[in-house]
Symmetry: C2
Subunit: 300 residues, 2 copies
Amino acid sequence: MFGVTILGNNSAIPAHGRHPTAQIITTGDDLLLFDCGEGTQIQILNYKIRRSRINHIFISHLHGDHYFGLIGLLSSFALLSRIQPLHVYGPAPLKRLLDQQFHLSETHITFPFHFHAIEQDGLLLDAPHYTVSCFSTKHRIECRGFVVRQKKRKRKILRNLIEQKNIALDQYALLQDGQDITLEDGTVIPNESLTIAATRPKSYAFTADTLFDPAIIPHVKGVDLLYHEATYPHALVDKAAERYHSTTKEAAEIARQAEVNKLLIGHFSAKFDNITLFEEEAKEVFPNTEAAMEGVTYIV
Amino acid sequence: MFGVTILGNNSAIPAHGRHPTAQIITTGDDLLLFDCGEGTQIQILNYKIRRSRINHIFISHLHGDHYFGLIGLLSSFALLSRIQPLHVYGPAPLKRLLDQQFHLSETHITFPFHFHAIEQDGLLLDAPHYTVSCFSTKHRIECRGFVVRQKKRKRKILRNLIEQKNIALDQYALLQDGQDITLEDGTVIPNESLTIAATRPKSYAFTADTLFDPAIIPHVKGVDLLYHEATYPHALVDKAAERYHSTTKEAAEIARQAEVNKLLIGHFSAKFDNITLFEEEAKEVFPNTEAAMEGVTYIV
């Protein structure tokens, strides 16, 4: 499964039952956490996310609605006597803040804790089945979005067929790589007759907070699912620019130009209780848009 | 009204729908906030507390479950363009932490912000109708409890009677202070015939986190309502001591010896979903005990 579970879809101030930014990306057995607004650990409980499977946390920037919940989550991991390693990727000053708070509360981290200061765009994590990389967005303070890309999988061997043909075990790897097989008698068996292609690798991008910025497009080009912030309806385009945020139609315009498959919008302004308008406006520019709802898992 | 609204009654880790420590003390028109665990600003919304009326926040100690929600609440005050002054009382290092986080997020505080480092026991706030003072508890790190005491109110004048007797306006203050009135003809009118006593001033004490510690008793002696932590059932008395917490019966023993009117227990261990046992055990020692429930306002 490759999916995104929204834990918070609101902008700066919690309101209308909506929470600040946090999302869980499920890719195979791994859970990644993108941003960690206040209350994230409570949302993790509410939606029965297996917190012990979160091994990598990515923080886009140091506005509070994107990271105030991190210290609480890490403290709880310590109190729960977590043992497996945890990796946190974020702006360098975050490490000092966390250290100070651990020190003041005399919290002893029970698990190997690796902090990776994000200092440039590019690859952050190279896992066996996927990568996570980051790109800069245009926000009031330094901010980065993240892209998760599944790796290309090997071809799947059709076991019943190769057993019939008496193919040696040591040739399985060649088959998985797409090569043809030559039998001892010289017969060549085409790869396609023994294997099928793996499913196409998919990709998810999260823009964090940003002005409307076409420089984002190459980083999210063709992704299967794009989460782009849409803090304001398009009538407030000037306010959005002034506050380094995007509108519904601006988010949709990025999705359209980047030729993504589907757009999720979120980070809704606390001024708006009803967000129907947000989805309607974005759909005018990019029809395959959904307004991100808390507790919902969107399949990539 | 003088009451305490529980926003969080759980110990270190949020669990079972229970939140970390925070409580609103309503005294007349003022709202005080005692501790501010993660998610407090969300609980304030859930229970429709008028956040703009919170002018004084008291932080007992720097374990995260007592203060991780403070930076979020203050940031929201700034985003909401609060203008009235705010006073925060807490351990000195808290100020540096808050300043760093404001700096990193480029948050501009829009209101006069006064931080009062708690460096010794005693009076913290002398308001027109009440005082707030603090006392040390025995916890793993420096920690203080708080006591709110209403001031003695002036006697209430029975207006219809003094109008009949033609008493001059400038004598009202004397009446309120309990003095008798001498008319021009020399007649003395006893104060009790023109006024009634104001209601008795009441008091509320909050012990924050603490070992069983009889040294607390003089500070909370005779209060109308005592909130004492009871992290564990009494069977776990050794674990409580090891972790610098109290059990149900220890909390009740403090209430009994301090001769308070009523005991509220809280700060329940996350290990326990059902807390019926907590209340039952405490009642064996001090019958007028209630287990503090989130969202409930307890009248002092």
